[in-house]
Amino acid sequence: MSRDKDRFLNILLISPSILAVLIFVYVFIGWSVRVSLSKWKGLTADYTWNGINNYLELFKDPRFHVDIRNTVIFTGVFVFGSIILGFILAVMLDQGLKGEGFFRSLFLFPMAISYIVTGVVWRWLMNPAAGSRTSGFNLLFTNVGLDSLVNQWHTTPTWGIAAIALAAIWQMSGYTMALYLAGLRAIPLELKEAARIDGASEFQIYRRIMLPLLSPVTLSALIILGHMSLKVFDLIIAIAGKQLPLDVPAIYMWQVTFDGLFYGKGAAIGILLLISVAVLIIPYIRYTLKTEAQS
């Protein structure tokens, strides 16, 4: 009797959340797919069937090509930079130095602030103005005699988006550091000791033993950071506003939908973004839950 009541209760407790997720995630995705297959352009909804024309148009659209190029450059610089920097920081902090906790908190604090704040500040740090109006990092470089480092930052043709990735690395490398540090702490100390006794140098220990053992962490970092770079939006808006050379799919989607009222096309961009994220994330969720079930 009470068992049945419990069974009823636990379904009752969880169903509002399930219903909310069902509607706001899955029904909405289906709805977006439907919009992406429509001719909807303008303030009133129009579900006239348009097949996959919105998608085909996007693939031919030069602006969307810029978006893809920018996303690839951003992802490459941001993911690679954050992983390398995060790993190096984690290894340095794993040496049992005094003040470890202080440095760890310091490298992680940018995670607590918003991309908008980061963007507003970096926009002035990466001021590309030259001559007597030089400021920000360029001014700092000039003052310490590193004139060769002075550059155009995000206004550099083609590669400007890489400068945005630098700000993103500043914000997120502490996160990869935290992931690696947690991973390093989970490796038994005896392994390191044994390698030392066998005469391995510290560098070899990290390169040959720790790094391979940490490959699940590297995989997590790759996927989490990779899917973040597909979604990058706020940071670019705050640094540069909506500028064509720094365009990405998330900004294009926003502009084409809410400024241009071309809902069909906007929905198509949203769905393409979803597919690219799902390709990374679904296997990751499956893999994580499977390893969890085994342990």
Partner: protein
């Protein structure tokens, strides 16, 4: 902890301090600029220390941004509390009351945490308009619902780590499902609540995308107001810097006071821990 510190490692402080300077540079500029008087403001001297302590920039930024700081608090507090409470109940059911299909429900909820919100943006706006929910309540609702996956994940992992015997013993004594939650699990859930509350507070406070789409200018939370202030030609960079500090302060304070819990939320977000 790594105990085998060997004496030759002190040179590591050199790269560590260099990195610390790199991480602090933007904060340094924000803070010193904020304290300069309007007369001292010049991009050419942006790295120089202020000559005295002036509060002009903070006063100006505060006048411009205080309504939106208020909006942020009004929206973030209910969003944080409600999604954390829901996450705790879901986590309890999913970890301790397995039913047919419950193993499928967890990844089904989890996926919602990773979707690019552009893929649900149009229906979300249509739904909110259709339901007549607008502005801050709508924004809070979006944060509650899209917060459910991460809050559920954190609590589910915590409750799953508790021994099943704890529940079995209580069941033997005739405790009901809700009784077990109320009298056994809830009292020991405080650390998880702190993790989840911090996480939700930080992400709702820092959100820009939902805010820019769901709110109009009287209801802008701080991120949107700050971004618009930075985009306007009239407000100078020094006031923007002061505004950035105001916008960052609440989450920074939480981080400084409760950093340990923040880190745990972070690791949970990668499905680890």
């Amino acid at each position: 902890m790594n105990i085998n510190l060997r004496p030759g490692r002190h040179w590591l402080y050199i790269p560590l301090i260099a990195m610390a300077i790199f991480y602090l540079l933007p904060m340094y500029v924000i803070i010193i600029t904020g304290f300069k008087s309007f007369a001292e403001i010049d991009l050419k001297t942006m790295w120089d220390l202020p000559k005295g302590i002036a509060l002009d920039n903070y006063i100006e930024a505060w006048t411009k941004l205080s309504p939106s700081l208020r909006n942020s608090f009004l929206m973030v507090i209910p969003a944080t509390l409600i999604s954390s409470a829901l996450g705790s109940l879901n986590g309890y059911v999913l970890a301790k009351w397995k039913f047919r299909g419950s193993d499928l429900i967890f990844p089904f909820i989890l996926f919602g945490m990773f979707i690019p919100y552009q893929s649900i943006m149009i229906p979300l706006v249509q739904f909110m308009n259709g339901a007549g929910i607008s502005g801050l309540p709508g924004l809070a609702l979006a944060h509650i619902i899209y917060g459910i996956p991460i809050t559920t994940l954190t609590f589910r992992n915590y409750y799953a780590s508790l021994p099943q015997e704890l529940l079995e013993a209580a069941k033997m004594d005739g405790a009901t499902m809700l009784g077990i939650y109320r009298y056994i699990l809830l009292p020991i859930s405080l650390p998880s609540f702190v993790v989840v509350l911090i996480w939700q507070f930080t992400s709702a406070w820092n959100d820009f995308l939902f805010a820019v789409i769901l709110t109009g200018n009287r209801e802008w939370p701080i991120t949107v107001a700050l971004n618009n202030m930075a985009g306007s030609q009239i407000i100078s960079w020094n006031v923007q810097m002061a505004g950035s500090l105001l916008a960052a302060l609440p989450t920074l304070l939480v981080y400084i006071l409760l950093g340990r819990y923040f880190l745990r939320g972070l690791l949970a977000g990668s499905l680890k821990g």
